[in-house]
């Protein structure tokens, strides 16, 4: 097992290098650089712009720029953001945490609702409750998340009761710890629902079909024949086997924890990494983009690894040698 993990980590290194190189190449392929916006300011001379470009080493050949970034990265320095004129690491820190809070809440919400619903649908297959839930889940799948976000915000603006986007109230600083926590939960509500609803519907369908497949197996028939209670059959024998494939999916979801949902973040005004990334790409803030891409890459690999390990732990049939 340890060997397996070490091998996976080693394979990840060239993969991450590839990701960073691709990102760098793609962003350099688009015309212009960050300081283009200044070029159209009649009060700024070309000499000043050349000065900026020199300051940030944009006048050097691309390959030199990439390798000096890589060298600094190995020293733990993610590079400098042109936009914010401060180290990329500084900017990412707070944003990563915010995105993490939102993703974690939506991950918990999604799984806590989707798995039980999936089981219910499988157990009551083709009955009214199954059909009704299926209908709802298809409906949820087909609503674009940004549209849902706007609808919910609009509804809240009429009905009231929940904050209209943001992460904290304007005067949150003056609150006590628990009041602040409650304030955060209230702000989490809408973005969590919006992000969860699409994934939830999909997950629920997968869980349903897994469970149905397991219920059709002969050992379930055997268990029932031996006179085990239905609860024992469903939750002890069937559930454990049905949940196996879900673990892989959980790994993928884990990798999405920090990548954020840009659209929902922007509309719900959540100060996360998705919206930051979008502006960074648009303004060609190269190193900020690369740092966040790298973060996403690392998490994806980590998530996959984690899923594999969990799978081995949950399913005795799987062994990595």
């Amino acid at each position: 097992m340890l060997k397996f993990i070490i091998r996976r980590v080693l394979v990840a290194i060239p993969l991450l290098l590839g990701i960073s190189l691709m990102t760098f190449a793609l962003i350099q392929l688009t015309p212009g650089n960050f300081f283009d916006a200044l070029k159209l300011d009649p009060r700024i001379s070309p000499a000043t712009i050349a000065h900026y470009e020199k300051l940030y080493s944009l006048d050097k050949p691309l390959i030199v720029q990439y390798f000096s970034w890589l060298k600094n990265l190995l020293k733990g320095d993610f590079g400098y953001s042109f936009y914010y004129s401060c180290p990329v690491g500084q900017i990412l820190q707070g944003r990563l945490f915010n995105t993490f809070v939102l993703s974690l809440s939506s991950l918990l919400f999604t799984w806590m609702i989707a798995i039980p619903l999936g089981i219910v649908m499988a157990v009551y297959r083709n009955r009214f409750i199954d059909k009704f839930l299926s209908f709802i889940s298809f409906l949820c799948l087909s609503v674009p998340s940004f549209f849902l976000a706007i609808l919910l915000l609009y509804a809240v603006s009429i009905v009231g009761g929940l904050p209209l986007g943001g992460m904290q109230s304007v005067n949150a600083q003056a609150m006590g710890f628990w009041a602040k926590f409650a304030d955060l939960l209230a702000h989490l509500m809408i973005p969590t629902i919006v992000i969860s609803i699409g994934t939830m519907a999909g997950l629920q369908r997968i869980m349903r079909s897994n469970f149905l497949e397991v219920l059709g197996q002969q050992y379930i028939l055997a268990a029932r024949a031996k006179g085990l209670s239905e609860n024992k059959v469903l939750f002890k024998h069937a559930l454990r086997n049905a949940i196996n494939p879900m673990i892989t999916i959980l790994g993928y979801h884990f990798s999405e924890l920090l990548s954020g949902a840009a659209l929902v973040e922007i509309i719900c005004n959540w100060p996360g990494i998705g919206s930051l990334m979008l502006t960074a790409v648009r303004s060609k803030d190269v190193y900020l983009v690369m740092a966040s891409m790298l973060m996403g890459g690392i998490l994806l690999l980590l998530g996959n690894l984690l899923a594999d390990i969990m799978l081995a732990w949950a399913d005795p049939r799987i062994r990595y040698e």
Partner: protein, 591 residues
């Protein structure tokens, strides 16, 4: 006077810039009659301290260093933290004393002595002296290692201004040549020597006072100090208890204790937050007006229509005569160059722009036709007598016929005198929604004239490389932000300017009128009084309206929704509603 790469509707940001305040600031007393709820009292009744105001910003600040910060979401905040030697009155547009209480100028207009206020302290308690002024100019602005646009502004004819300390409260500026906009440019922020000399010596100035800096480090003389910044959420400023300015009634300013900038990236969400009462002031789009206006009473706010928003929107045709050194081919196809440099062709285009329709469709009826490069609100330099071009397709057809453009083969497309069919590309930047709508309307009318116009929306950076480096474009719809001082548009108007969009960087003026405009911009800075300068800039506007290098379209209305909780508001169409924030106070129940 930066190119407005944002959608028109985001211009609120650009208007609130401190730079706009500092340098270009502005004009007009466009007090509309329809605001009975306001008190216009000028210090008649005593103000009251306390309370807070919540603004919104479309993105995070990028730096708190006034020399490094370039864009408006930073400068709109920095404007409350720092001050210059002079400032422009938002209402009268006159230059008035600020950190300098008075000044003397020598007869030749080159030597200026400024007497600094002796009662000014930095927000950490250190006294403000001539050393700070000297430091700001000689060590920062004129420092080659500090890239800043201020250096370009204070470099006149390629020469620096000599800045010397006479005594702790007197500073002398010696100009290389006469420079009319000088006093107004001195609105540039003065920075504290005791805080910044250290980082400068270590070579770290460019990264000092970034958004990661501890807020207590950022020390200014302005009415507010920075007290908190939560990335992606809010910026909080609190009243500077050491601020020197007093109200006319002798009260300490500012009145409002706290300013909060809520960072809201989505305009629709900002609107909902405004209606909920979370935000106190919001610049709104024409499309939002019918929704908001009827709710004024119920939701306790006022919608101000401040007149034409500062700025410009225009179409420019590529008249570049140069040859591409890489390919040996001309930048512009000689056939198209022939069309675009034909004045009848440009006049026909101007007559084909249906400004009323654009205002009705794109701006919900809330806009103004534009005919001059100077903002209509600029009551110092605007020339109301420029040539205007009505929407008249028949007139346009006549003009085209005069220049030999006719549909000879009856296919609905006109040909030039040599039989080439008229077809060209029209570009704009894809993030400017209103500009794209304007392009669609113009394209429709040009089609009726028999021109085949292909409309292409490009990412902003892509458009800039076309415009500034590759010159491979035919026509572009673009905008510039406004400014009081015409000289700061010099780079657009003089024939060797890099931003002389239609034919940049000419070695010698290509046309007689361009030569005359060069002369005007040279002479315009030699005369120190605005009155003396006006005839020159009037002539320039006349030339532009006659020769149409830029064909102007429309300006949107500057609309501002403001919670009805303030006293002493004196809105101005150029400076907005809150340019005099330190003198504004809250009604009793909001304090």
């Amino acid at each position: 006077m930066r190119v407005n790469n944002l959608p028109l509707l985001n211009r609120r940001e650009l208007i609130f810039t401190s730079r706009a305040k500092k340098l270009l600031t502005c004009l007009v007393v466009f007090l509309l009659l329809a605001m009975p709820a306001l008190s216009f009292g000028q210090g008649a009744s005593a103000g009251k301290h306390g309370g807070q105001i919540v603004f919104t910003s479309i993105s995070d600040p990028k730096s708190f260093n006034p020399l490094i910060a370039q864009e408006t979401s930073s400068t709109s905040i920095i404007g409350y933290l720092f001050e210059g030697l002079t400032r422009t009155n938002g209402l009268t547009l006159e230059v008035e004393p600020n950190l300098a209480q008075r000044w003397e100028v020598s007869e030749d207009g080159l030597m200026w002595v400024f007497y600094l206020r002796q009662d000014v302290f930095w927000s950490d308690g250190t006294p403000f002296t001539a050393d700070d002024v000297i430091f700001t100019f000689n060590d920062l602005i004129y420092n080659d290692d500090v890239p800043c646009s201020e250096r370009d502004i204070f470099t006149i004819d390629g020469k620096e201004i000599r800045v010397e300390k006479l005594d702790p409260y007197r500073v002398q500026f010696t100009l290389p040549v006469k420079f009319a906009p000088f006093l107004r440019t001195l609105g540039a922020a003065i920075l504290p020597r005791h805080k910044l000399a250290g980082p400068l010596a270590k070579g770290e100035f460019n990264f000092t006072w970034g958004v990661d800096a501890p807020v207590a480090e950022i020390v200014g003389t302005g009415p507010y100090v920075l007290t908190r910044y939560q990335p992606g959420q809010q910026v909080v400023l609190t009243a500077n208890t050491r601020y020197w300015r007093m109200s006319p009634g002798g009260q300490r300013l500012p009145f409002i204790s706290k300013i909060i900038f809520l960072i809201v990236q989505n305009q629709d969400v900002a609107l909902l937050k405004f209606l909920e009462g979370e935000i106190d002031a919001l610049s709104i789009r024409g499309a939002d007006f019918p929704l908001l206006k009827p709710m004024e009473k119920e939701k306790n706010f006022i919608v101000f229509d401040l007149g034409p928003a500062p700025g410009s929107n225009f179409i420019v045709l590529n008249q570049n005569t140069k040859v591409n050194p890489k390919t040996g081919q001309p930048f512009v196809d000689p056939m198209k160059l022939g069309w675009f440099s034909n004045i009848y062709f440009r006049q026909a285009l101007a007559h084909a722009i249906d400004k009323k329709k654009i205002i009705d469709i794109v701006m919900n009826g809330l806009g103004y036709p534009q005919d001059s490069p100077v903002d209509p609100n600029n009551n110092i330099f605007y020339n109301p007598h420029v040539i205007t071009y009505d929407y008249d397709l028949n007139k346009a057809r006549e003009l085209l016929a005069q220049a030999g453009f006719m549909d000879r083969d009856g296919d609905g497309i006109i040909e030039d005198a040599k039989g080439n069919k008229v077809e060209f590309n029209l570009y704009t930047n894809s993030n400017a929604v209103e500009r794209m709508q304007i392009a669609a309307i113009i394209r429709h009318d040009l089609k009726r004239l028999g021109m085949n116009v292909n409309f292409i929306a490009l990412e902003f950076n892509n458009l800039v490389s076309k415009l500034m480096a590759n010159y491979d474009w035919d026509a572009i719809i673009l905008g510039l932000t406004g400014g009081l001082e015409p000289h700061f548009g010099k780079n657009v108007w003089v024939s060797n300017g890099q931003l002389h969009f239609w034919n940049p960087g000419q070695e010698a003026p290509a046309t007689k009128w361009e030569a005359r405009v060069d002369e005007i911009f040279d002479q315009g800075v030699q005369i120190l009084s605005d009155k003396g300068r006006k005839p020159l800039y009037d002539e320039w506007q006349m030339i532009v309206s006659k020769e149409l290098p830029l064909i102007y379209t429309v300006l949107s209305s500057y609309l501002m929704a403001v919670r009805d909780k303030f006293e002493n508001l004196t809105p101005s169409s150029y400076s907005g509603v809150f340019y005099n924030l330190e003198e504004i106070y809250l009604k009793e129940k909001y304090r």
